[in-house]
Amino acid sequence: MKSKLLMIIKIGWLSIWRNKRRTLISLFSILIGTGIPTFFVCIAWGFYAGLVDDVARLMAGHVTYEHVNYRNSPSNDLWVDDIQVINKSLNNNDEVLLTKQIVNLQGVAHTAKGSVGISLMGIEPSKEITISYLPESIVEGEYLSEGDGRWVIVGSKLAESLNVNVGKKFVFTTNDIKGELIEELFRVKGIFKTGSKEIDGHFVQSDIDIARMVAGLSSNDVSQLGIIVKNPDTHERFLQEMQKTLAKKNGVFLSWQQIMPDVATTIRMDRTAISSIMVLLVVIVLFTMFSTILMSTLERRREFASLLAIGTQPIELKLQIFIETILFGLIACPLGSLLGVGIAKWTEGYDMMDVVGGKAEDMTVGGFGMDTIITPLFSIPLILQISIFFFLAVQLLSILPIYLISRISITDVLRST
């Protein structure tokens, strides 16, 4: 039994090499069919992972704790009980890298030049420096430090539309927690440029103390508690645990997907688009493969008929054809994965803008700029998934040839010369 199977495998293996050129073309098409999606997925998923992490660190963390009603109306008077107790216990959690206390204020910035709607985020500068990319994005002036008071950092586009430079002032109008209109003066300490229209045009960061003062919050209160976890992949499970064990009655733990649905939706849509393109590519490759496999089967009809005549069981013949496609897949799919991973690895560190052209500013997801430096994500399950998917797709190709062989008429085929 074993030697028979080995023989069938051997015949299958040798049969694929009967037409070397055709086989190489087939292998090449599987290689490309597996390699290109692998490459794209590594690159794209790398971008998303980087983007999500960047945005999470810039904004309200991978997981955010806030008032249950804050999502519906991000009003300054919605803060959560015992936030410092929760903060302390989160900071003692092994899975947590850092927590950031955030006071968010929506309002309008104005100068003599004009007015722009902005979102002011009060943070703890010393923590922010260790986690966020904003301090590195400063192009003029300096990043914040503790006790900076009215000194804030603004985006380059906002600076332009307000016509302010480092050292200049603007007036910020907002409502405090009692709903009273508040006007406060701020001065520009630094100007950052992230490449995102939204962030550069409407985002302002200040020290949390001044934001609390403006909002009328006490020195313990926050709008949000942003949690940066060590492993972003498991943030959902972490969130569930925290919700069960830590959340107060009026507080809720939310994921970055819930906090920034635009980003989540865009990534999801983008992934779907990439997957669709990949599936299309796969179909094209499979189509060329299919004709090859069908041809190579049909031109051996005579051979198959004689094998059947001398007593080969039809199942043994079908197995042989099946093994041929399995061997195709087994050779080409792993090589394709390696090829994709290899190219992705090779492009690591290059700026995508140099490759495709265009402006970094145009690369935004849900309003957030993307880091255009290629940092592929090599997720083994994902790479295997593509490889196995392609492998199985190739196996489907043997169905028709196998069916045709099962219907072969030995006498008819042998009679025709």
């Binding site: 309002g107 104005h110 003599a112 030049k113 409502n175 406060e184 003066l185």
Partner: protein, 258 residues
Amino acid sequence: MLDQFSTMMRLTIIATCVLFKVFLSSFAFASNLNPEKILDSVDDLYRSNTSYGTLTLSVTTTNWQRTLTLEQWSKGDDRHLIRVLKPKKEKGLTTLRVDNNVWNYMPKVKRVVKIPSSMMASSWMGSHFTNDDLVKQSRMVKDYTFSITYEGEREEKNIVEISCYPKKDAAVVWGKVEVIVYRDDFIPLHIIYYDEDLQLSRTLNFTNIQMMSGKMMPTQMSMIPVDEPGESTAIQWKKIQFDLPINDDFFSLRNLQQ
């Protein structure tokens, strides 16, 4: 580019002169005028315990021009009610201001809308005034340091020029405000706003001085922004009465809808 440069040069020269004047003022104009008193009188020009009046508001932009006739009530610094009388299309449109809050009542849809803080910098009724201009109740003397920088004849008028510089943390967008009044009665002629770089931003002109309800006052006021050439907003007082008995209840949301 050359144009821009010469403008910059001119403005720099002006700014330098202004600074020079400020420097000189403390020595040169040791007059007996009290700038604080003058600024308060300008702030109080249209304010009284209570007031009632009608006025027209003419807005000229590069694209359109329109005139509204308005009716207004005020009490103290913090209560205001303004209602549109003409044109017919906007008749009944009412703005109520109590303290820092502004509401608009739209008769067509019979709804009251509170102006959120994000809208405070938006134009009020399409004019060159912002909602914030309406709300602004701070007094010059509170937010600015000031001094008399000129006293005497200018354009055949005997005037006093007071230069006001915002205090360090005052929530003021301007870099400097010049208030120019008649020396005799402190009736304002111009209020000139400069941005932080001391470039001219907008000018408020007061003209057509008349006696109204026993008070001499300019009955016409026009706002000319610098960066929108050819545009302006003019206010013309038709009638004004002071110190009428008006209840606080008058400035209520309930009344807004009547």
